[in-house]
């Protein structure tokens, strides 16, 4: 028996499920078609230009120098090696930037909350200024206006054994001598011992309620034991001091101006954002928590450390993660002032020399993608650890 009261085509289209199905099939068809269209164009274009796809160019000699390399690298090395050098440069600048930006951010965030009017104003000015000026402009400022205006090597500024000139910051270079292995053994021992101290202090506190300054003590243990082993081995470190000649500086360790400019710009800029996050996090903790802690007789420092901070961290961590991600991605701006990081080396020089646009850009996107992913996985793990465990 057929139902003649409702026209069948109307009811079919009026059904939400059917419409969703049709819409999605259309969408999928569009995506597949667009992908196929772009891919076939790409094939045709690459054939026309005689560019062969694939990563075989990675084994060819690169033939260009890289100013800053932490592993051995010369012009005779391959593109693959140049890629690794650039990757390390990106990692180093991101890691140092994250550490510095966190320190600056916490200090500035607390300063903006300070009861001292002048300190709070100064921090506000810092935050509002740096946040509203493009990062690229700040990098240019540090590189072209500040560091380039430093004196030539012969007129370097000197602080103790450090030299500061337009070629960069020179510091003494520690060179390990025979017997340094003993010091490393001592350092590892001291870390084990310090962990022991922390565990013992925690156990004692649960058992007796007595508090022990475990973190200061473990710091002392690390410094002390390492120093004893240093003395036992007869201080097996020599310092190669930088000495300036007429046109150059020889010896020592150098932080090139490109590196300094990128690091300073990245960390002060991101620090301003982190400061706001820290401030918002601390303000989000109910004042009642502080009052309750005081009425329990906790000292101010303990109130902050044991009551306010753990609760503030829950609010702080998610936006902090995205700032870390931003910093890692923003390190790519170093390309504009010739800091040899991933974009400069792979998407700049390598792309120009080989013409392998798809591979180089794809590789960069892949690296940044996995860098972003690993930072967010780590921060998610930390966030889960810190988050409120409710009944």
């Amino acid at each position: 028996m057929s139902d003649k009261t409702t026209p069948s085509n109307n009811s079919f289209l009026n059904d939400a499920g059917n419409r969703a199905l049709i819409f999605q099939i259309l969408l999928l068809a569009m995506v597949v078609f667009a992908g196929y269209y772009l891919f076939s164009n790409l094939q045709a274009n690459l054939d026309n230009r005689g560019i062969s796809t694939g990563f075989s160019f990675f084994n060819e000699p690169a033939g260009f120098p890289i100013l800053i390399h932490l592993i051995e690298y010369t012009e005779a090395n391959t593109y693959g090696r140049a890629f690794v050098v650039a990757l390390i440069n990106t990692f180093v600048i991101s890691l140092l930037g994250i550490i510095l930006a966190t320190i600056i951010g916490v200090i500035m965030g607390l300063a903006r909350l300070s009861k001292n009017w002048l300190v709070a104003r100064l921090a506000t000015v810092y935050i509002e200024t740096l946040r509203n000026i493009p990062l690229l402009l700040q990098m240019f400022f540090w590189y072209f206006a500040v560091l380039a205006a430093l004196p030539a090597p012969a007129q370097s500024y000197e602080f103790a054994d450090f030299l500061l000139n337009k070629r960069g910051i020179y510091s003494p270079n520690p060179i390990t001598q025979d017997g340094f292995g003993l010091v490393i053994v001592g350092f590892i021992l001291s870390i084990v011992a310090s962990i022991g101290v922390i565990v013992w202090a925690k156990k004692r506190q649960t058992r007796t309620g007595l508090w022990f300054p475990a973190y200061w003590a473990s710091l002392g243990v690390i410094v002390g034991i390492t120093f004893i082993f240093l003395a036992m081995a007869g201080f097996p470190i020599e310092f190669d001091l930088p000495t300036k000649s007429r046109f150059n500086v020889t010896g020592g360790m150098v932080l090139p101006p490109e590196f300094v400019a990128v690091l300073v710009a990245l960390s002060t800029y991101t620090g301003a954002f982190i400061a706001e996050i820290v401030r918002a996090g601390i303000l989000s903790v109910n004042w009642g928590q502080t009052e309750a802690a005081r009425s329990l007789g906790l000292r101010d420092s303990m109130t902050q450390r044991l009551i306010v901070l753990p609760q503030a961290l829950r609010v702080i961590i998610p936006p902090l993660t995205s700032q870390y991600l931003n910093l890692a991605k923003n390190s790519s701006l170093g390309a504009a002032i010739a800091y040899p990081e991933l974009v400069a080396v792979v998407m700049g020089t390598t792309l120009n020399q080989t013409g392998q646009a798809i591979e180089t850009i794809g590789l960069c996107m892949l690296v940044y993608g996995s860098l972003s992913l690993s930072i967010s996985v780590f921060m998610n793990w930390y966030n889960n650890k810190m988050s409120l465990i409710e009944r």
Partner: protein, 366 residues
């Protein structure tokens, strides 16, 4: 005679608890640490302020036609004066810059017209969103009504920066909303397309997207079909910004209680009706700060087009710094650029605060 009790007038509060003295005591010298911090801050100000004021104002040179005119030892603002037109309009022909000025005045007048109560706001919005871009395009590019054609490669300076920023903002906003709705959708394919798009874009730096736009897009297009570099960069910036916008809007959508969605369904509204009339007005209002923050980020990010070889505001400053007549005026150039960017970005963030207060309808929990 009755004795009337006359209280003697109360004493003024001690100087240490009201007025300037008390304020200073409470805010600057309340504890040893505070005293130290106060003096430390004053010392920093002493180190920074006098030299900067002396350099930027007292010893500055305001007029002149080359570096030789700047003999006072301070800032050489004459440099900015000489290059001002280039900073504003890039290499746009000097005789034609009135077209840019006219377009800007037109926009200001049209936006200002919102303040007039008797004007139909709907028509005005349509005029701004539909008619204005067409007029502006022909004004900028020329080629009609006897206007001289100006190639987009000549566009530059603050004009290009604002153009990139405004088009990026206007185009990425609706796209971001659609992506956010797609990500919240119950249709698995639509949802995964949006998620993949958003997450891919957010995982990579803008600079790779710009490189893609300038180097890779031509490879993906059929032979012979190619379009303007400015347009390609604009597409890149818009897609990039849309992904971030989508995440901000998603935050707002998630904050709307389920009851609102259910109530809209119960009223018999279709999906688009319930979104446009019920959900989005509430969700977008919640995330105004986030939206404006992405606008500010987008505006600052437009500086990156310099890396792919377009001379926006920062690019023109950078180019002017290489002029051999004006060696040593790098700081002046950057200071000017920083001031302009700062005023625009700070202005946007203040405007968002005002907007938030204006749209506040009292549902916020305090």
């Amino acid at each position: 005679m009755a004795i009337i009790f006359k209280p003697s007038p109360s004493l003024p509060p001690p100087v240490t608890s009201v007025g300037a003295v008390a304020w200073v005591r409470q805010n600057l010298f309340s504890s040893p640490l505070n005293i130290f911090l106060t003096f430390f801050s004053i010392y920093i100000l002493y180190l920074l302020l006098p030299p900067v004021v002396e350099w930027a104002l007292i010893n500055a040179t305001w007029e002149g036609s080359s570096k030789a005119a700047c003999t006072a030892g301070g800032a050489c603002w004459a440099f900015i004066g000489v290059y001002f037109d280039q900073f504003m309009y890039g290499l746009y022909p000097e005789a034609e810059t009135w077209r840019i000025n006219l377009a800007v005045i037109l926009l200001v007048v049209m936006v200002g017209a919102f303040a007039i109560k008797t004007i139909n706001k709907l028509y005005l919005s349509i005029a701004i969103i539909v008619a204005y871009p067409i007029v502006a395009y022909f004004l900028f590019a020329g080629g009609v009504f006897g206007l001289e054609v100006v190639e987009t490669s000549l566009w530059g300076g603050l004009f290009l920066t604002v153009l990139l920023g405004v088009i990026g903002i206007v185009a990425s906003f609706p796209l971001g909303i659609v992506l956010a709705l797609g990500r919240r959708s119950e249709m698995p394919i639509a949802k995964s397309v949006c998620v993949v798009f958003i997450e891919t874009i957010r995982a990579v730096p803008l600079i790779t997207i710009l490189f893609m736009a300038s180097v890779m897009i031509p490879l993906f297009l059929p032979e012979g079909l190619n379009f303007n570099k400015l347009l390609r960069v604009l597409i890149g910036i818009t897609l990039f910004s849309a992904a971030y916008m989508a995440e901000v809007v998603r935050g707002g959508l998630q904050a709307i209680p389920k009851g609102q969605y259910e109530a809209a369904d119960a009223m018999g509204l279709t999906y688009w009706q319930s979104m446009i009339l019920v959900i989005l007005p509430q969700a977008l209002k919640l995330v105004i700060p986030g939206i404006v923050n992405s606008f500010i980020a987008l505006f600052k990010d437009t500086t990156l087009v310099y890396i792919v070889g377009m001379f926006d505001f920062l690019g023109r400053i950078q180019a002017a710094n290489h002029d051999s007549n004006w060696l040593g005026t790098t700081i002046e150039g950057y200071a000017f650029a920083a001031l302009i960017y700062w005023v625009i970005c700070f202005g946007m963030s203040r405007y968002s605060m005002a907007l938030e207060r204006k749209l506040e309808t009292g549902h916020k929990r305090n």
